[in-house]
Amino acid sequence: MTDAGQREPTPRRPEFELPEIVELTIRRAPFEAPRLRHFESSLSRFDEAIEFHVRTNEPLPYLDEPPMLYVGETLVTEMRGTGEREYTFFAFDEERLEEGAPIAFGFPGTPSAQRRDSEYRYHAPRGS
């Protein structure tokens, strides 16, 4: 009698939680584009950025598309890790950052209701 068998399930990837922003500072700062060996970064046209220094309660998950920072409806995707659970996000188009907009973590393309809000709101940093 042949047994049709039952497939052993592959372990599911654990569902990731959206991290909580526990600390955030915003500043306008000189921006240094990545130094590449073989071509000039397309970011080299920017010499200044609005920096969002974020500390989270959990590390961002190892995904190719991890959650990113929303400032209102503007998604800020340029990011570098700066320490354990510390990240700096760079926004280059200041005009798209709405004064007083809520700051949240969310997966790209998700509506505001599905993001994890923080207590922080965007206020343009002083200085040119």
């Binding site: 497939r7 399930p9 592959t10 372990p11 599911r12 990837r13 654990p14 569902e15 990731f16 939680e17 959206l18 584009a33 990545p34 590449l36 060996r37 073989h38 071509f39 970064s41 397309s42 970011l43 590390p59 961002l60 190892y62 995904l63 190719d64 598309e65 991890p66 959650p67 990113m68 998604l75 995707t77 340029e78 990011m79 570098r80 890790g81 990240y87 760079f90 188009d93 798209r96 997966f107 790209p108 393309g109 998700t110 509506p111 209701a113 599905q114």
Partner: protein, 857 residues
């Protein structure tokens, strides 16, 4: 398009004078035999070699045809044909085949033999060897000494070995044709034999002469009893044994079988089968039949069965599986019945089939071009670290480069770039299976370790870093190529470079051709597997693949790159030799990389990891073999003219762009719905049609129809207002479409809740006499339903339904229109029409209406 029907309900009159021609395995110079297939049991076979006829009486066509010795070895250019004869009929001659010179097809030596099945075991007495050219010599060595040989082999040949294998012996298969040896097979070390399972003896039917016995261990000896009479003992290469017996079986007879390996070990339990009456014999299985086919492809049949084919109730073919030839091509409206006969038993049911316009035949495994042994190395130079697989003198770490291949010139190279994953995992090792397949085919394959960039970084900068590191690996291999004494010294052809990238690596390899400035490097093709699109996320223009062949593979159940950004690159690719989109249902993000363990898939059970790998290999290898080696026939796999035997093509939805097509409407001109791309007028009647952004946001001034579009182009959405509403697209000048195909990309628009029933559309051609002929999409493959992933998406942290409207390319051969109405003048087509015949009012998305001549090789 097929159904099983009782034979007694149909007036099928067998004609004993009908007999289909048999056929031959590929013919090569120096072959001392030919292998004949498709004949009926006990037929007399005539083989004609340039007028010299050799005759033999065959026994059974299965499992491996009749091996017929020739009076003299074949010579290149000779014409060979075959026919069969029974007591009541003689077939026509087969279409003559020309004897080839294998060095034209295999300039670096014959294909490498494969021990198949493997592995071998101690006490094994027989070994199967595949990947052979029929007519050559195959032999087996154990620890270097020859233990078995067959001169004049089949494509898959069993070789008895004497003495039996001993534990730990290193076994290899060898092959040569015309004194031209192939590389030896991979080594198989004889391990201890496994516990012997009970042989599987399925019940045969009465009057049959073939007994199939399964569950056989590699190399076992199988002893068969008929009733209480011990018949004989057979050696078997494993898996299954099919033997011919006489006299024919009678109902209730009992067969028993046991298998043995080492004499000192007990035999297996006894397997038993009992002969069943004729009433147990049903219909065979048959692959879909295309209009114009001149054969039937049988996929499932009783051992020893003769296959009968009836067209419009007239007996047209008699032969054996898998191919039964017919005198005339299958025409529109034909009704086909296929039945099987075992001895005097006639199957109680037959399979009834309607031919369709497009049912691509299954071709060979395009990933299995197995010519060279495979060497491999890790390489490390500063931050340049990876693994490379290459055609070598023999298998193993750091073995020398293949001398025979090197003598004929430099060798192309593919760089593979993984994506973001835990830096603790060696992601670059995850594509070893594809690297090996590339190397076997004669392509160097380097996998780039990008873990240094897998920390906390995201965005365009990270992708550019990845692209920069990939380019640095190209530089590294340029240096190795230029160095003296290295494995790769003067070996690499940088004019033939291709890339493959997964996830962020896919984004990176799309970036590389847009920025690379290395002298002498030419990118021929790029494969983006589940790529991200960081530039799009940052509000920048999507990189356009340009100047190289492009493929993106999109796992429909991707739980990481959930928006399937690769569709954006497909839409944006311009000025490419061709572009291909492979959208695969029930596949996830991770299973293409062996180091990425978790199942992230959404939308139903995922295919197994092995099936993921087979999909990638079966579509990637045609891309690389075509673009780097110039192999013909490969594009057929990407354009849906042929399906790879090696992958779950039932899960694959293809889009394909061929630049030499005449584009009737791709909507990207944004010249309103009223005009097509040829500036011809359009005319909707009984349906609502307009142009929309096939994108998540407004695009080129147009808005999306709804949120289910994830590409980056403009297209048309049509929604029926009445049954048989039409959309007519005028051709300003008449077009001769004879011998060409009409292509259109189409999809059911996803809307929640998903309608219980899907929908379809018809494509119409209108000639100068206003004759309009319609062909349904159901006749060219059918419109798939959206891949539903709503429940799992909503349950995830994304909390958004990411079910997509994903367009695919449908081919409508112009001959299908002419077959329906001979008055249609294909030479003077004035308009192409879309008709929505359904009443359920589902919206349909369309794009890229084209007239395509199949000009590829």
């Amino acid at each position: 398009m097929s159904r099983e029907v009782p034979r007694e309900q149909i007036d099928l009159q067998p004609n004993p004078e009908v007999l289909s021609p048999p056929y031959l395995e590929n013919l090569y110079r120096c072959a001392v035999n030919v292998v004949v297939h498709g004949f009926v049991p006990h037929a007399e076979l005539d083989v004609d070699v340039d007028g010299t006829v050799t005759t033999e009486t065959a026994r059974f066509p299965h499992p491996h045809g009749h091996n017929m010795a020739l009076p003299a070895p074949l010579e290149a250019g000779q014409m060979v044909r075959v026919r069969q004869r029974t007591a009541t009929a003689q077939s026509d001659w087969s279409v003559p085949e020309t004897v080839a010179d294998h060095t034209q097809e295999y300039p670096h030596g014959p294909p490498r033999p494969v021990i198949d099945p493997g592995p071998v075991y101690a006490c094994g007495s027989r070994t199967g060897v595949s990947n052979l050219l029929a007519g050559g010599s195959v032999w087996i060595t154990a620890d270097g000494g020859e233990v078995g040989r067959v001169d004049g082999c089949r494509e898959h040949q069993g070789v008895n070995v004497n003495p039996d294998y001993s534990l730990g012996q290193v076994v290899r298969a060898h092959y040569q044709l015309c004194d031209d040896p192939s590389a030896p097979s991979e080594a198989s070390t004889a391990g201890p034999p496994p516990p012997l399972p009970r042989p599987d003896v399925p019940d045969p039917v009465e009057s049959g002469e073939k007994l199939w016995i399964g569950n056989i261990v590699n190399g076992a000896r199988v002893t068969v009893w008929r009733g209480t009479t011990e018949l004989v003992t057979y050696r078997c290469w494993g898996y299954a044994l099919e033997i011919g017996l006489s006299p024919p079986f009678t109902p209730g007879e009992r067969f028993e079988a046991v298998q043995r390996m080492c004499p000192s070990d007990p035999p297996s339990p006894t397997g038993t089968g009992t002969v069943q009456p004729c009433s147990a014999l049903g219909a065979p299985g048959v692959a879909p039949v295309q209009l114009g086919d001149q054969h039937i492809h049988v996929t499932d049949f009783h051992p020893g069965a003769v296959i009968e084919v009836y067209v419009n109730l007239v007996h047209k073919g008699t032969g054996t599986a898998p191919i039964v030839g017919l005198d005339d091509p299958i025409a529109f409206g034909d009704v086909i019945h296929v039945g099987q006969v075992v001895g005097t038993c006639v199957g109680q049911t037959v399979l009834e089939l309607d031919p369709v316009c497009v049912a691509p035949p299954v071709g060979r495994d395009p990933s299995d071009h197995n010519i060279f042994p495979v060497g491999h190395q890790e390489y490390l130079d500063g931050d340049v670290h990876g693994s490379v697989y290459y055609p070598a003198q023999d298998d193993g770490a750091s073995t020398p480069f293949n001398e025979r291949l090197a003598e004929s010139g430099r060798v192309p190279i593919v760089f593979l770039v993984h994506g973001r994953h835990s830096p603790a995992d060696p992601s670059y090792l995850g594509y070893e299976y594809l690297q090996r397949e590339l190397a076997r085919a004669g392509i160097i394959a380097a996998s780039v370790d990008q873990n240094a960039l897998n920390g906390d970084a995201h965005g365009v900068g990270n992708i550019e870093h990845r692209a920069d590191l990939a380019i640095e690996h190209i530089v590294h291999f340029q240096n190795l190529d230029a160095a003296a004494g290295d494995t790769f010294s003067n070996r690499i052809d940088f004019d033939r470079v291709s890339l493959m990238g997964h996830s962020r690596g896919g984004d990176a390899v799309i970036t590389v051709p847009t920025v690379i400035a290395l002298a002498g490097v030419r990118i021929r093709s790029v494969l983006a597997l589940a790529p991200t699109n960081a530039r799009h996320g940052a509000g920048l223009d999507t990189n356009r693949p340009t100047g190289h062949a492009f493929m993106t593979l999109l796992p429909a159940g991707d739980g990481d790159v959930r928006r399937l950004n690769g569709a954006q690159f497909y839409d944006q690719a311009t000025d490419v030799p061709y572009k291909s989109q492979v959208h695969v249902e029930n596949t996830n993000h991770n299973f293409f990389n062996r180091e990425w363990l978790f199942d992230d898939g959404v939308g139903g059970p995922m295919l197994s990891r092995y099936e993921h790998e087979r999909v990638l290999s079966s579509y990637a290898m045609p891309l690389y073999r075509e673009s780097l080696l110039g192999h013909s026939g490969m594009i057929d796999y990407l354009s849906n003219h042929r399906r790879p035997a090696s992958a779950r093509s039932d899960k694959v939805r293809l889009s394909f762009g061929w630049p030499e097509a005449l584009t009737v409407d791709d909507h990207d001109e944004n010249n309103t719905i009223d005009k097509n791309s040829l500036e011809g007028d359009t005319d909707p009647t009984g349906l609502a049609a307009d142009e929309f952004a096939f994108h998540q946001h407004d695009h080129d001034g147009l808005s999306p129809f709804n949120a289910s579009f994830f590409g980056e182009s403009l297209g048309m959405v049509a929604q029926p207002e009445e049954v048989n509403g039409t959309f007519r697209s005028e051709l300003p000048d008449p077009v001769d479409v004879a011998g060409q195909e009409i292509w259109i990309r189409a999809a059911e628009v996803y809307q929640h809740p998903l309608a219980a029933q899907g929908t379809s559309f018809d494509l119409g051609l209108e000639d100068g006499n206003e004759t309009v002929v319609w062909v349904s999409v159901d006749d060219v493959g059918g419109l798939p339903r959206p891949y539903l992933r709503r429940a799992e998406d909503l349950a995830s942290r994304h909390q958004r339904d990411l079910t997509k409207t994903m367009l695919h390319t449908f081919r409508f051969p112009s001959g299908c229109f002419a077959a329906r109405n001979r008055e249609l003048q294909l030479e003077e087509i004035r308009a192409i029409l879309i008709r929505l015949p359904e009443e359920n009012r589902l919206a349909l998305a369309f794009d890229d209406l084209q007239i395509v001549e199949r000009t590829w090789s």
